[in-house]
Every structure is written in structure tokens, then in C-alpha cells.
């Protein structure tokens, strides 16, 4: 994850606390989604950014995961995301995201 984005995530965590904060991802691939999820939960696995060695344990989902989709207005989801469900490997994204959350 971009270093500046890591910094901002950390700042928002410190400001709002972990209970009130959710991170939503739009990564193109399962692996990238998993890495970003790992960064905001267990810490930056590349040890490059402000979240290296920092375990924020934030709640994190990809926008294409069913739990998130269920809460989004149907018409909005249809307009903004639905086409990409045909493009992205949603199953792979779900399994990578679940694997990270299971470690929490």
C-alpha cells in the first residue's frame, strides 16, 4: 500500500479508534487485496511504510464481498460495481480477504 495512504489510515485509526473505522478496498486482484488487508490489520508485510510492525487490527473488506454488497443500495451497486463483478476474480478476492481476517 502507498506510504501516504498507510500514514492516513494510521491517523484515522488514532483519531476514531478501531471500533468505528472500516477500510474498504477496490484492488484488482486477490493477492493485492490480501496484502492491503494485511497492512491495515497485522501490519505492512513489505516493511516499507508507517504500518510496518504496527497491528491496527482494523475491520477491512473488499467492495465486491457479499457482506458489503448486502448493505449497499441495490441501484447504486448496479450502477457503480456490477460490471466489474464480471471482470474481477471475486472468489479469489473473497478467499484472500477471508484468510487475512481469519488471522485476527
Amino acid at each position: 500500500m502507498d506510504l501516504e495512504n498507510q500514514k492516513r489510515v494510521k491517523e484515522f485509526h488514532d483519531q476514531y479508534g478501531k471500533e468505528d473505522l472500516v477500510v474498504l478496498l477496490g484492488a484488482a486482484e486477490g493477492e493485492a487485496a490480501g496484502l492491503a488487508a494485511e497492512t491495515v490489520t497485522l501490519g505492512d508485510p513489505t516493511y516499507a511504510g508507517p504500518l510496518a510492525g504496527v497491528s491496527l487490527g482494523l475491520s477491512v473488506y473488499h467492495i465486491c464481498e457479499p457482506e458489503v454488497k448486502a448493505e449497499v443500495d441495490d441501484a447504486v451497486y448496479e450502477e457503480q460495481i456490477s460490471m466489474m463483478e464480471m471482470v474481477l476474480d471475486v472468489d479469489d478476492i473473497i478467499s484472500e480477504m477471508t484468510a487475512i481476517r481469519d488471522q485476527l
Binding site: 506510504l3 486482484e29 493485492a32 516493511y47 516499507a48 511504510g49 450502477e79 457503480q80 464480471m86
Partner: protein, 514 residues
């Protein structure tokens, strides 16, 4: 349909610059700043390829035209662990080694900022003097270098000069152009001279591949992603004219067009419109590459024990002229644009760039034989978690077709195969954006293999922090039916026959060279 500007030819060049990966790529310079003792920095040098390996890398051979996108699609993925028969010279350009490219940087420097170590300069000068497109006259400047390595090291240590390395040895430096102005710092000057040199190399090849008299080019549009200027006008410009000067385009002026990765598509539309309007008869669109993106995804490549594939400074140039009755036409009336009001959902983006212009022209998605969106090499992007970018674009186009009821969902893979291309371009931002296909598109249209192609440029404007908007423009190129040549060019029938003959010979020549 006649009277449109035509695609007269294009050139593509690479310079393999492994030492610049280490010292100028932002992934590496950032790592040195935040984590100087990192494993990545220790491992990285072991993953750099030799020049020969980079030449025998299939995607690079496709870029310069010795192999085709079809050859690439037929090769089993991944490609980095395989070698192909590689040549330095290609139908569209060349792959230049780092030492000669450093020499070319000095040739492109008109402010005496580049200092090269004497022995290195002498050796390199000989090579450039023997280079068919550079020659003795341009290379003569290298003989004027008198500095020793110690003197150059002193410039780096005491004068904030940016070092130039070759094979791990200090061989030169770029001095700062101003003591205080950060826009003229040694770092920025190196970045800009690299861009200029790679643009010049491509322009020289454009003149060669098209056979145009350099004095006939009237306007040049540069569409790279760098900015040149000083503290009072940071992006003042003008890379286009600076490169045109070195390339000997004596009758050209020019300007810079910018739009992140969408820059080339914007520039081509500008060029085609200037020609169609009759303002200029021959316009070149050109761009050099960028040092910053060298090794951009290096961490993932090293982690996966791959070579650093982002080791090339790329460039391209395209010549747009008045209708010759033969070359593919640029349909400046079938244009897609992502507007301020379009929105950023992928379906809105693809709709604005692909289906909206086709609807207006009464064309279906399947009327476009090939789409050329962002042609990034998936060998580079897949291991980095960015996926196969061209394939994702094709799937998006097909998926929108499904939503519109034009394509069946299960037909998406077939649409991707039939109307798509396998990506081969280096991840240098603007370089992969639509334009790498122009060379092959022209050939395939002249050969009657395809009728229409759509070039799509997309740009991440939000990276500049001036807007959160995305951007993009697209246009259709179409095989020339010869009916409108007289409308813009005033060419008689005899000349058309002559041009058709030339094109046939060119095509036959390309078949023979295979």
C-alpha cells in the same frame, strides 16, 4: 470516407538502463530514504538483467516490431524465463544499450550539464559515431570530455551533481542547472534529459521508418509525463521543440500536451485535428520515457525471484499526415471522451470511451476488429498484483456489451480473444497507453487483415492531487478506401497509384523479413 488525417507510420525504442533502475527509480530511491538497510536493496542488484537478456526478451522484441502481438499470445506465460531470438534493430526502432544512451543524453544536453569520464566518453563516442541515425557529427561532442573519474566524483560530492553509472562504475554526472531552483536541480535535469534523449531516439527512427524528409514535419507534440521549466514556470515546456531541434526537424515548432497516461491519445487527436483542419500537413507526436518508473514493481519481482523487468527507458513517435489515400485514417469524428460529468465507475468510464462514440457512429462493439487500451506487459504487472491490465480492459468492454445485451456472458472470453491483444509494453505510464499497437494496426490495415481499431487512452489525474477525476479519450482508426485523398492532400490519381505501390512493397518487404 475521405479527407481524414492518416497514420503514416510510427517508431518505438527502448534503452536498457539497469544502473538507472538502482539510482533513479522512485521505488528504490524511496526505499533508500525510509529503509536503507532493507533486504530488498541488498537483493536487487542480483536481479538486474544483462543487455543481451533484455534484447532476447520477447515483449521487447514485439515493442520494436521484430515479433508480433500474435507471437506473444502464442508463447506460454510467463515470458521472463524464456528467451527469443533477439535483435537490437527492429522494424520500428531499436533497443539501445545503456552506455550509448548515456552518450545520447550528452548529445541532447545543450547547457553543458553532462560530464562524462574521458575514457568512457571516447569509447561511447566511437559507437555513436558508427550508429546509422546518430553519426559522426552528433557524436563529436563526446570527444570534448576531459574529466577524470575523480573530478566527476567531486562534482557529485561537492556540487550536488547526479551521478551516471554504467556496469556499477561512475562514468559521468549531470550537474544542477541552478544553485537554488529545485526545478533545475541535477535530479530533475537528469530526468528531463533522459526523457528528451529517448524522444529524440524515437524521432530519428520515425524519420527512418516513414522515409519522410525531416524538413517536411511542421509540428511536434510531446506527450510524456515530465515537466520542464524553472521556478517561475515549473511546467513551462517545451520538450517537443527541444527534441525536434536535436532530431533535425528544422521546419517544425511544437508544444507539449499532458494528461498522465492518456497524454498520447490526447496528443494524437490534436495532431490529427490539426492536419484535418489543414493547419499543418505533417505532425509528429512523440514521447520519451521516465527514470522514475524504472523498477517500479521491483519489490514484487525480487520477492518472486524474477528479474527486474522494468529496466527500460521507452520512447515512441507517430507521424500523422494529410490523407494519402492509402494509410489508415484517423476518424476524428468517432471520438470517445471521459467528461467531468461522466463519473468514475468502471462502467461509466468504458461507456464514455467505447460504447458512446460507437453508438453515435452507428457501429457495434464487434465492428471494431481490435481494441488497443492500455497495453502493459502482464509479465510485469501480474506478479505485482495489478493483474493483466489489457485483459481486464477487454473484459470490461465485453462485460459492458453483456449489460447492453450485445454479447452473451459466456462469450466474454471469446470476445477478449478475438478483439483483444496480449500486452507487451513496458510500464512507463504513457508509453503503453493505446499507442504501442499503431505500428501493427497500420500494417494489418494495409494488408487488409483488419478494418477498424480503437485506440483508448486512460489517465489517473488524481495522482496530481488537483482533481479526483479520472480521464480518457479514444478514437477509431480505419483502413483507407482511397476515396478522399484529394480532399486534403491535393494528390492526383497517378500519385495515389504510386503510394499504393509503395505500400505494397513495404508490406511485401515486411513479409520477406519474417
Amino acid at each position: 470516407m475521405g479527407g481524414y488525417a492518416v497514420l503514416k507510420g510510427s517508431s518505438y525504442t527502448l534503452a536498457i538502463t539497469p544502473d538507472m533502475v538502482l539510482r533513479s527509480g522512485t521505488t528504490q530511491t524511496t526505499e533508500k530514504a525510509v529503509n536503507p538497510e532493507s533486504e530488498y536493496l541488498k537483493e536487487l542488484p542480483k536481479h538486474l538483467r544483462s543487455y543481451e537478456d533484455a534484447v532476447s526478451y520477447l515483449p521487447n522484441q514485439v515493442y520494436i516490431g521484430n515479433k508480433t502481438p500474435e507471437d506473444l499470445a502464442a508463447e506460454e506465460f510467463p515470458w521472463y524465463d524464456k528467451k527469443t531470438e533477439g535483435k537490437r534493430e527492429g522494424k520500428y526502432g531499436e533497443i539501445m544499450p545503456q552506455d550509448e544512451f548515456i552518450g545520447l543524453i550528452q548529445i541532447c544536453d545543450v547547457f553543458d550539464l553532462v560530464k562524462l569520464e574521458k575514457a568512457f566518453a571516447k569509447e561511447t563516442g566511437k559507437k555513436l559515431a558508427a550508429h546509422g541515425l546518430i553519426g559522426v557529427e552528433r557524436a563529436a561532442i563526446l570527444d570534448k570530455n576531459e574529466d577524470t573519474q575523480e573530478e566527476i566524483a567531486k562534482l557529485v560530492k561537492e556540487e550536488h551533481a547526479e551521478p551516471l553509472y554504467h556496469d556499477g562504475k561512475l562514468v559521468g554526472a549531470v550537474k544542477r542547472a541552478h544553485d537554488i531552483d529545485v526545478n533545475l536541480s541535477a535530479h530533475v535535469m537528469l530526468e528531463n534529459l533522459v526523457t528528451k534523449a529517448s524522444s529524440v531516439l524515437s524521432l530519428l527512427h520515425l524519420v527512418k521508418t516513414t522515409g519522410i524528409d525531416p524538413s517536411e514535419i511542421e509540428y511536434v507534440i510531446d506527450c510524456c509525463e515530465e515537466a520542464c521549466g524553472d521556478m517561475n514556470q515549473r511546467g513551462g515546456g517545451n520538450f517537443a521543440k527541444a527534441a525536434a531541434e536535436v532530431a533535425g526537424l528544422v521546419n517544425a515548432t511544437g508544444s507539449d500536451a499532458r494528461g498522465f497516461c492518456a497524454g498520447p491519445a490526447h496528443a494524437l487527436l490534436n495532431a490529427a485535428s490539426l492536419v484535418k483542419a489543414g493547419t499543418f500537413k505533417a505532425v509528429a507526436v512523440t514521447a520519451g520515457g521516465c527514470t522514475a518508473k524504472l523498477g517500479m514493481n521491483g519489490k514484487d519481482h525480487v520477492k518472486k525471484d524474477m528479474p527486474i523487468l522494468e529496466d527500460a527507458i521507452a520512447g515512441f513517435s507517430v507521424l500523422i499526415t494529410a490523407d494519402d489515400g492509402v494509410s489508415p485514417q484517423i476518424r476524428t469524428d468517432i471520438v470517445g471522451k471521459h467528461t467531468v460529468g461522466t463519473g468514475s465507475s468502471p462502467q461509466a468510464v468504458i461507456g464514455s470511451l467505447v460504447t458512446n462514440p460507437l453508438d453515435e457512429a452507428g457501429l457495434k462493439l464487434t465492428d471494431i476488429d481490435k481494441f488497443s487500451p492500455e497495453m502493459q506487459n502482464p509479465d510485469i504487472t501480474k506478479p505485482a498484483g495489478a493483474g493483466d491490465v489489457p485483459e481486464a480492459n477487454y473484459k470490461m468492454i465485453a462485460a459492458l456489451g453483456v449489460k447492453r445485451g450485445e454479447i452473451e456472458r459466456k462469450a466474454i472470453p471469446q470476445f477478449v480473444k478475438d478483439h483483444g491483444l496480449t500486452g507487451w509494453a513496458p510500464t512507463q505510464g504513457h508509453i503503453p497507453s493505446g499507442v504501442p499497437y499503431l505500428g501493427f494496426a497500420r500494417e494489418d490495415m494495409l494488408a487488409g487483415k483488419i478494418k477498424r481499431a480503437m485506440i483508448i487512452g486512460k489517465g489517473s489525474l488524481f495522482l496530481g492531487r488537483m482533481t479526483n477525476l479520472f480521464d480518457g479519450v479514444s478514437f477509431v482508426i480505419e483502413a483507407n478506401d482511397g476515396s478522399g485523398a484529394g480532399e486534403t492532400a491535393g494528390i492526383d490519381e497517378g500519385r495515389i497509384k504510386e503510394l499504393i505501390g509503395e505500400a505494397m512493397r513495404e508490406f511485401a518487404g515486411s513479409l520477406l523479413s519474417k
